[in-house]
């Protein structure tokens, strides 16, 4: 089927326009609102909408300009025949006429039916929704504006039957699943889903799930039953074990008891023996000790007796000797006493002599000291007088000026200098001598003595009374003055020195000096005398002499008392003489004393020696006697204690016997004890006690266990663990088998379902292959040689379209995830492919109308997709592209028809008035030049509220901007995207409501009418102030 031309009359914007379509490719261009879509819609309605349509659909077609009913005429070819369908949509009076060129005609309903038949569609029918239903016809071929990006699979499903039939016939005898196929497959899928969850686990409420649950439950029950059963048997085992343990313990006890008794008996015997042993041991010890004691005492008595006898005999000679020595000693003592008395008398004599002599010497000393003291006293007196004289001299000296020879010499020198100076002055100066004067002669007020030379050493006024005044001017220049100054100075110096010394003159100085020297010499003499006298030590010497004198006096006084009858000597000589005589007497007496002392010492020594000897001898005798006494005492005691000899002897014999008997008994007892091995017996007893206790404990435990087990075993008879276990086992087994069955069954269901899925997939691949290949072919035009389409078909329904682009590593991108532009392009590819498949029942051709179908595609892609469109055209499809940018399709090599609104002079037209150029259609074909084809006496028209709103916004904003604005500025302030802006701008430009400005980037300004308008039209409703902007439409038809 191929559309040749479309003629539209009184249809919305169009008054009467005819567009010829190229058999292959036509681009219908023109600005927005020039009626492109309207044209496409009209053609579609001519083909599919009943002419007698009423209601809103019908009303929407009515021309904006009164003057006739909407009419559409479409010429087309189908089945190698040419047809013309003419429909007038006038409601109930609507008319349809189908005529085969050069052949039959059909009218109205028949025409509708025949047309549907030719087009291969069902009758759309009338009534409510007829318009919408009709619009769905050939929706896969008619891409309405704004629907280009819809998923084409839906369209494909709408054409499914036809499409499948075509695909089966073209897909290499591809077969389709039957309804039964689908039903059975579905039933198994449902059964699978009723058995399994999405995650593959069995559903709880499925047979498999219940079987699994039952299996689990019965397994748990089995475990429980087995536990119960095992517990029973364990208890029985425990009972038996406890019984055995009890018996074992009893047996042990039976064996242990006699052993223990035997040990106990032996231990008792040991005890007895040990007691005996102790007793016997004590007895033996006592007997032995007593015997020994008595025996010892007996021995001792005998020994003592012997001892005493021996000692007595030995002492007798010692006693005699002691008495003899005693006599000797007494005699020697008496001799010593005599010698001592002699010596004492001699000593006394010597002492007396010594005292006398000492006294005589003391007198001698006293006399000497008296003489010395007198001597020193005299010398001291001389010193005193000398010192007194010297003091007088010093006082004299102190009265004299302190002139010494040096000072005097200095004075002499000063005087000499003065003399020299005066001499020099005299030699130089003039001298005046008054020889005689009646009146006083004054020189410088000083009265000159008569006859005295008055030295004039300087200018001097000489007054002679009042008579004359003379000035004497001595010669010699300055030397005179110098000389006079020298004199003065030397005089002063001399005088000063004299003053200091308190001297009147140099002579006085000489006298004073002489006095001083004389006195000083006298002082020096005095000093020498004092020194000779030893003046410095004289006082000490006097004191010392005094002391010595006193001492000597004391000595004499003291000694005088010792020698009462001593005749004191008169002087020193007599004293010396006395002392000497007494010395000799003393020597004699001392010699006598020493001799007597020797005699005495000898006698004393002998006496002492004899005494010592006597004492020693006596001591020895005393010692011997004491020992004998002691022995005697001991002997007495022993005899009293142990009896006399006879009694003692009897006692001894008895004790010996006692001791011997006791020792023998002890030995026997010990032998018996050793034989019993008491240490081992004790260990045995401990061991056996342990063993018995252990056995008792075991027995007790066993008894207890026995009781517990017996208690447990006393069944209440309500349950039989053995039967319970058997039942549980059987149930578990049965559940396992059932589960296995269900699993097998579920597996079978899954297997069938999977196989159905698999086969369905294969079938769908086979069926869709021709379509896939065609879609891919178109996609390759767009996306390169690798692009592939993937089409899913499930249960004969198209369920998905994917695009694979290996070059971009996209394995299969679902259609819905493609970008807006890509959606349009891929959908177009799919439609083309589908049309291609379907076209085979339409003489190999079907028209495809793309109304603004690539709005989201970028210019570059629009260029590329022309390859795809061209490929479709070359494959026999009729391509019709409606675009407001026909230039974009320049490369398509299509016929281009431009619908153009004709500018209308301002205020020239109004509703109901035809445009001046309204004329009969004029057609030109096959020309490459643009030709004005038709001018419609129609006003432009805004199709919808949205568009009108935007117009209003555009104009209002432009007005706000002062009626003129750059495109960029205006678009930014409107906040629109470029496409919208350009679209609305183009529309307004076309309407002449705005005019293009100059400058780069472009600008627009309001048309004068819009400048004048106070407010923009609200929604572009018919009948509003549109009247001022109506524009006729022209059509350019050209073949590029």
């Amino acid at each position: 089927m191929r559309i040749k031309s479309i003629t539209v009359r009184n249809y919305k914007i169009h008054r009467d326009v005819t567009v010829e379509l190229d058999p292959a490719c036509t681009v219908i261009g023109g600005p927005n609102e020039c009626g492109k879509s309207t044209l496409a819609e009209a053609a579609h309605r001519a083909l599919f909408l009943k002419a007698k349509i009423t209601g809103e659909t019908q009303r929407s077609m009515v021309s904006f300009v009164p003057g006739g009913q909407p009419e559409v005429e479409v010429c087309f070819e189908a089945g190698a025949k040419a047809y013309r369908i003419l429909k007038r949509f006038s409601g109930q009076t609507g008319m349809a006429r189908l005529s085969e060129v050069g052949g039959t005609s059909w009218q109205d309903e028949t025409a509708e039916e025949q047309l549907a038949k030719i087009l291969g569609v069902g009758l759309a029918g009338g009534g409510r929704g007829a318009g919408d239903r009709a619009a769905q016809q050939w929706a896969h071929l008619w891409v309405w504006q704004g629907q280009a990006g819809n998923n084409p699979a839906e369209q494909a499903n709408a054409q499914r039957d036809t499409l499948m039939a075509r695909l089966q016939s073209t897909g290499g005898a591809a077969v389709m699943q039957s309804e039964l196929d689908a039903e059975v497959a579905r039933s198994f899928a449902e059964r699978f889903e009723s058995i399994f969850n999405r995650n593959g686990s069995p559903r709880a409420n499925s047979d498999l799930g219940s079987a699994a649950q039952r299996n689990q439950d019965t397994a748990a029950e089995e475990v429980k039953a087995r536990e119960t059963y095992d517990r029973l048997h364990q208890t029985i085992f425990d009972y038996e074990q406890a019984g055995a343990d009890q018996a074992t313990a009893d047996r042990s006890l039976g064996l242990l008891k006699p052993q223990k008794e035997e040990v106990e008996a032996k231990l008792k015997r040991v005890d007895e023996l040990q007691r005996d042993e102790k007793l016997q041991s004590t007895e033996a010890e006592t007997g032995s000790r007593k015997h020994k004691d008595l025996s010892d005492a007996d021995q001792r008595i005998k020994a003592l007796r012997t001892d005493i006898q021996v000692r007595r005999r030995a002492l007798e000679p010692k006693i005699a000797e002691a008495e003899r020595i005693r006599g000797v000693a007494d005699k020697k003592k008496r001799a010593a006493q005599t010698a001592s008395a002699n010596h004492e008398a001699a000593t006394e004599a010597a002492r007396t002599a010594r005292l006398q002599k000492e006294l005589a010497i003391a007198y001698e000393v006293l006399f000497e000291k008296t003489a010395q003291h007198k001597q020193f006293a005299e010398k001291a007196e001389r010193v005193r007088s000398e010192r007194s004289a010297r003091s007088g001299l010093e006082a004299d000296l102190a009265k004299l000026p302190p002139v010494d020879s040096a000072k005097y010499k200095k004075l002499q020198k000063l005087d000499a200098e003065r003399s020299i100076a005066e001499a020099a002055l005299h030699a130089t100066a003039a001298r005046i001598e008054v020889i005689k004067a009646a009146v006083a002669v004054k020189a410088d007020e000083a009265v000159l003595a008569i006859g005295v030379d008055h030295l004039v050493a300087e200018d001097t006024e000489l007054a002679i009374g009042d008579i004359a005044r003379l000035r004497i001017k001595p010669g010699g220049g300055t030397s005179l003055a110098d000389a006079r100054e020298t004199v003065r100075i030397t005089k002063v110096k001399l005088q000063d020195s004299l003053d200091k010394l308190g001297l009147a003159s140099l002579d006085a100085a000489a006298g004073a000096l002489a006095d001083r020297e004389r006195i000083q010499a006298q002082i020096r003499d005095s000093d020498i005398r004092l020194s000779t006298l030893g003046a410095d030590s004289i006082d000490q010497e006097v004191s010392a002499a005094q002391l010595a004198l006193s001492n000597a006096q004391g000595e004499v006084d003291r000694r005088k008392e010792q020698v009462p009858d001593f005749a004191a000597p008169a002087d020193l000589a007599k004293a010396k003489e006395l002392a000497s005589g007494l010395g000799e007497a003393l020597q004699e007496k001392e010699l006598n004393e020493r001799s007597l002392k020797g005699v005495r010492d000898q006698a004393v020594s002998i006496s002492e020696q004899a005494e010592e000897e006597a004492v020693t001898c006596r001591t020895s005798v005393d010692e011997g006697n004491r020992e004998i006494d002691a022995a005697g005492i001991e002997l007495g005691v022993l005899t009293r204690t142990h009896g006399e000899d006879e009694a003692r002897a009897r006692e001894l014999a008895w004790l010996l016997e006692l001791k011997t008997n006791a020792e023998e008994g002890l030995r026997a007892t010990r032998t018996a004890l050793n034989a019993l091995q008491p240490d081992l017996l004790n260990a045995d007893r401990a061991r056996l006690e342990r063993a018995v206790n252990q056995a008792l404990k075991e027995k007790e435990e066993a008894t207890m266990k026995l009781a517990v087990a017996r208690d447990r075993l006393s069944s209440d008879g309500t349950a039989d663990p053995a039967a319970g276990l058997a039942t549980a086992e059987a149930r578990a087994r049965s559940a396992r088998e059932q589960l296995a069955n269900e699993q097998r069954r579920a597996k079978a269901v899954q297997m069938i379902r999977d196989l159905f899925f698999d086969e369905q997939r294969k079938l769908s691949e086979q069926v869709t292959r021709p379509l896939v290949e065609r879609v891919s072919g178109y996609l390759q035009c767009l996306f390169g040689a690798d692009a592939q389409a993937v089409i899913s078909l499930e249960e004969n329904k198209f369920t998905g379209l994917h695009v694979a682009r290996p070059d971009r590593e996209i394995s299969a991108c679902p259609f819905d995830e493609l970008s807006g532009g890509a959606k349009e392009q891929v959908a177009a590819a799919f439609r083309l492919a589908m049309a291609e498949v379907l076209a085979e029942t339409h003489d190999g051709c079907l028209p495809l109308v793309f109304d603004d179908a690539f709005a989201y595609s970028d210019p570059e892609r629009v260029q590329i997709l022309q390859r795809m469109l061209d490929l479709a055209a070359t494959r026999g499809l009729q391509i019709v592209v409606l675009s407001c940018n026909p230039a974009d399709y320049a490369a398509l090599g299509a016929r281009q028809v431009i619908l153009r609104p004709q500018p209308v002079p301002m205020g020239a037209s109004s509703i109901g008035q035809p445009a001046p150029n309204a004329a009969a259609p004029h057609q030109t074909r096959g020309s490459n030049e643009t030709t004005l084809v038709d001018v419609l006496d129609s006003r432009t028209h805004l199709p919808g509220t949205e568009s009108a709103d935007r117009h209003g916004q555009f104009l209002a904003r432009l007005r706000e901007l002062g009626g003129k604005a750059g495109n960029m500025t205006l678009r930014n302030t409107l906040g629109w995207d470029e496409a919208t802006y350009n679209s609305i701008k183009d529309q307004l430009l076309a309407q002449g409501r705005i005019l293009p400005g100059k400058g780069k980037g472009g600008s627009v300004h309001l048309a004068s009418a819009e400048v004048a308008a106070e407010s923009p039209p609200a929604a572009g409703l018919p009948g509003s102030d549109f009247s001022t902007h109506t524009a006729p439409i022209t059509i350019d038809d050209k073949r590029i």
Binding site: Q177, I236, R712, S714, A722, M751
Partner: protein
């Protein structure tokens, strides 16, 4: 002096029949074990037996529940003759045994004064016989329970009273053993060495443990269980009787088995070579049980292969038999091997390409030996069913 008595054993009262899923059926099986006691009483009366000997395993468990204690005591009481029993391995004496339980003792006193449980290996003198009991006092006696009889006690003072040994355990080559899942309690047999017993001094050995009736010596018999409690294996096995024994001092006993069992325990192995064999199976089953329901148990081993349709029919057949039988113990190793026609019907459906393809792949999978094969076979059956349903 001849004496007649009943020798029975292995009553196994209170056996759980755990393998039977249906509670009601299980109760029936348990109840029948009590019911058979009345039939034994009947045999005793009709044969004028002077007493009944139970050679062990009167109860199935040493901890049997009260119901079976009461039931058994009541039935024993009704027998009207002395009943002498020894504990066997299932109801062994000793600690925790049923014999020690107060309830049993009380019930025995009240309901079965004629019952004498011989818990000691001590001679029991009756009016006209002496009984030499060999009770099992624990589940597994390590020593021969009859060993006390080897050096035979001096029995001369009992004159011509028949001497009857009462024992429970296995003799060489015979014993209960672990027959099947119904006897999970069995284990190592308690071995009895008959050869070591002074045969001349004994007049009859009443043995228990082996559930079939079986003579194992000149004077030694297993009575077997009076009512079957398990599927038997192979031949030489004749359970479901009691023995009417006539014995006398120094003579050989006369033994007459009398059938007492009611329920049929059947075994059938059937191999399918063709679908037609299914009909044969049906016939076999019918011949086994006739028109009875609720009285038979069947162990059925199925092998071979069936078509899908036949296997579906088999399923429905088995359902029927499951209802009729007290128990169907099925071991079904039948392979579903779709027939050519079935395969064709599934795989060559011109109108349903998908089903055809899936079926073809399943046929391929089912032919293998892998784990998947069984699932694939089942899947084929499911798919087959689905194509019929939709």
């Amino acid at each position: 002096m001849s004496i007649k008595f009943i020798h029975t054993a292995d009553w196994q009262q209170g056996k759980p029949f755990a393998g039977v899923d249906d509670d009601q059926k299980r109760a029936l099986l348990q109840q029948e074990r009590l019911n058979v006691l009345d039939r034994i009483g009947e045999v005793a009366r009709s044969h004028k037996a002077e007493f009944v000997l139970v050679a062990g395993d009167l109860f199935d468990s040493p901890s049997v529940t009260k119901y079976f204690v009461s039931g058994a005591c009541s039935a024993i009481g009704r027998m009207g003759v002395p009943v002498l029993a020894i504990p066997g391995n299932h109801d062994h004496g000793g600690p925790g045994s049923v014999w020690e339980q107060r309830f049993f003792q009380s019930e025995a006193r009240q309901l079965a004064p004629n019952l004498q449980v011989l818990l000691k290996p001590e001679l029991v003198e009756l009016d006209r016989a002496v009984v030499l009991p060999c009770p099992l006092l624990r589940r597994h006696e390590s020593s021969d329970p009859t060993s006390w009889l080897r050096a035979c006690p001096d029995l001369s003072r009992y004159g011509d009273k028949a001497r009857v040994v009462l024992a429970h355990g296995s003799v060489q080559g015979f014993g209960a053993g672990a027959a099947d899942d119904e006897d999970s309690g069995a284990g190592v047999p308690n071995l009895i060495d008959l050869s070591r017993l002074p045969e001349a001094d004994m007049d009859y050995l009443a043995l228990g443990d082996w559930h079939g009736t079986k003579q194992v010596g000149h004077k030694a018999w297993y009575a077997g269980t009076p009512e079957l409690d398990r599927f038997v294996k192979g031949g030489d096995h004749d359970p479901g009787n009691v023995l009417v024994v006539s014995a006398e001092r120094g003579g050989l006993p006369t033994v007459q088995p009398v059938r007492t069992c009611r329920f049929g325990w059947h075994e059938l192995v059937h191999s399918f070579a063709a679908d037609a064999d299914l009909t044969q199976l049906e016939a076999s089953l019918n011949s086994l049980t006739g028109a009875r329901a609720g009285q038979d148990l069947l162990r059925l081993d199925l092998r071979g292969s069936l078509s899908i349709q036949a296997s579906v029919r088999l399923e429905s057949l088995l359902e029927t038999w499951r209802a009729r039988l007290l128990r169907l113990k099925l071991s079904n190793e039948t392979v579903i091997a779709p027939s050519e026609a079935e395969i064709q019907a599934l795989t060559q459906r011109a109108s349903d390409p998908l089903i055809s393809r899936v079926a073809a792949r399943l046929v391929e999978l089912a032919a293998g030996n892998a784990e998947d094969a069984a699932a694939a076979q089942m899947a084929l059956r499911e798919l087959h069913a689905a194509t019929l349903q939709h």
